[in-house]
């Protein structure tokens, strides 16, 4: 049988490749972004409860109402934006599904979508499946900031969407208030839709704050804002997230969502609603929790050959290894996994153009012992 692949050049995602390699080599896996500790006990207890109590059939297509209401309360409280739980909040099985649906719902054949490299690897395939074309703009290393003049030059009649990711995976950079001002200036009076991947919204450090598109009326009115419970409650395997968008955009997103996955998992949504009601401040403690882990890991690498600028957000830390090796980053990650027994993620796989710096990405969402053990192995380099 012959199949004309729609994505002929796309292999298995780098996260799966590196996780498998880590397992084969018995390496500490600081590659794929998932915690090696569990979510809150009460949250897990609520899931068990709802499974046992028969909350096991389809939920409403947009998500369990009680959860949508909790999400709306959170958005009102943290971002001062009143949103309708009915018409602006959609619960999805994983933030990646919402990203996919938002792109499918709004990008047409021939449309251009601006992404910033290094870009999370799910964006481009979705754009291509929608018939669109991805325009890659490089973030400026080593701070990985957006060059707004470059964005201005890239915008044309065909520009349909700009995908923003803050806090940014894999670089750990965050958008500043000025960035939002520039962005608003660029999209004002255009038909450009914004897709904001804000799944690390609570992981922002050093007194900085998350600059959500929800904060600004003229940005929100054209935005899909996507977040994830997996990152927030340490349950990445629950694959549950949500998308906030104005009613017109939400309606378009839901048209696609209903035929991609239709719904998320019922008892998980009930459990999340209970947990959010019981511990509305849980998300506010995350920044302190993860900043301590970041500092532990970065401090343990002081004196090693890695050059490190502490991450401003996410649970990822980039490390410049140019003083250690002149391998390319993919080879470096394989070597680190096989020889040093610490798995990392190469970031060139998230870039269309070659990088001027040599970086690997470590995930510090790990127990302190795991981080110290990994850092000890890396520090000898």
């Amino acid at each position: 049988m012959n199949i004309d692949s729609k994505l002929p050049d796309i292999g298995t995602t780098i996260f799966s490749v590196m996780s498998a390699l880590a397992q084969q080599n018995d390496a500490i896996n600081l590659g794929q972004g998932f915690p090696d500790y569990d979510g809150p006990a009460y949250l897990r207890e609520r899931l068990a409860h709802y499974v046992r109590d028969g909350f096991n059939q389809y939920p409403p297509m947009t998500g369990v109402e009680a959860l949508r209401e909790q999400i709306a309360l959170k958005v009102q409280r943290l971002y001062d934006r009143p949103v309708s739980a009915d018409s602006e909040v959609t619960v999805v099985p994983g933030a990646t599904e919402a990203l996919f649906c938002a792109i499918m719902a709004t990008v047409n054949a021939g449309d251009e979508v601006i992404v910033f490299d290094p870009a999370y690897d799910s964006y481009e395939p979705a754009v291509r499946l929608a018939g669109g074309k991805t325009i890659h703009l490089a973030l400026k290393a080593p701070e990985f900031t957006v060059d707004w003049q470059q964005v201005r030059d890239a915008i044309n009649q065909r520009t349909r969407m700009i995908i923003l990711n803050s806090p940014h995976n894999p670089t750990g950079s965050v958008l500043s208030p000025d960035d939002l001002v520039h962005l608003a200036d660029l999209v004002r009076d255009t038909n450009i839709v914004l897709l904001a991947d804000e799944v690390y919204e609570h992981l922002v450090y050093d007194g900085l704050s998350h600059q959500s598109l929800l904060l600004v009326d003229e940005l929100y009115e054209r935005a899909f804002v996507v977040s994830s419970f997996g990152k927030t409650f340490h349950v990445t395997g629950w694959k549950t997230g949500y998308c906030i968008a104005p009613p017109l955009l939400s309606a378009q997103l839901r048209k696609v969502h209903q035929f991609v996955t239709f719904v998320g998992v019922t008892p998980i949504q009930w459990a999340l609603a209970d947990f959010m009601r019981a511990e509305p401040d849980y998300c506010l403690q995350l920044a302190g929790f993860y900043q301590a882990k970041r500092d532990l890991f970065c401090n343990a690498l002081v004196g090693s050959g890695f050059q490190i600028t502490p991450s401003s957000g996410t649970y990822f830390q980039l490390a410049d290894y140019s003083q250690i090796s002149d391998r390319n980053d993919r080879a470096m990650c394989e070597w680190l996994t096989k020889e040093v027994k610490v798995a990392a993620i190469p970031i060139s796989v998230f870039c269309a153009a070659p990088l001027s710096h040599q970086y690997v990405r470590f995930c510090f969402a790990k127990q302190d012992n795991t981080l110290l053990k990994a850092a000890k192995r890396l520090a000898s380099l």
Binding site: L78, D178, L180, S209, V216
Partner: protein, 277 residues
Amino acid sequence: MELHLPVTVATPAVECIARHCDLSRTRIKQLMKYGAVWRTRAGRTSRLRKASSQLCAGDELHVYYRAEVIDATVPKPVLLHDEGDYSVWHKPAGVLCQGSKYGDHHTLPRMARHTQNADRNNLLVHRLDRFTFGVCLLAHSKAVQALLSRLFATRKVEKHYHALCDGFPAQGVLPATVDQAIDGRSAHSEVSLLESSNNGSKLNVRISSGRKHQVRIHLASLDLPVIGDRQYGDPTDQRDLQLCAYSLGFTCPVSGEQKSYRVEQALLPPLWQTFSA
């Protein structure tokens, strides 16, 4: 008192301010309503009025408190004509056109809200000095504001001021044309005598440009300072300024109709009632 508070945790604005000063919550809500509380968010600073406002991490809150500004009282503006796209008001002396960081509750756009539909947008088209009274326009959409402002900027508005002065103009002084530049920019006024009595003189000043204090400066240059003008006339004059923005005439940029608006005699201060119209 000034407060500048960086916000690290999402908090209701009233609570945040209450924690940092001795003002009561009622007073704080009043400050917010009166425009003395500002918020910087996502690179933009704007007034925070609603008592229910929520602050987000990363916001910065600014409070500018002067009791004498908040507690001052001024007379109410009066609606003269409502044209839908814009309205025509009598601005009494004391009412401001623009607010300051200490508040804007005594500005014409804000006070107009209390006389009519509060959801209506009240946008300033031109300015009158604080102690000048008379005809002032408010636009009710940005588009109409831009159209009307353009008329003023391109000198397509027929503007007449009336001013009261002490004494009589010297023989042959009026009518006069004054072209004295103000702040280095051209200014043009035509001054004529309306009436003279034992109380003094009432002058008509037609201006095409609209420089700051133009009528006061140009009348002072003719040795006819406006009554109560301590800045350009007698510094010891304790009376109120007697300068009235008397009429505005223009072709309406929306309807194309010729429009002319003038003050209502009954709304003028007592001194003006003794002059016949």
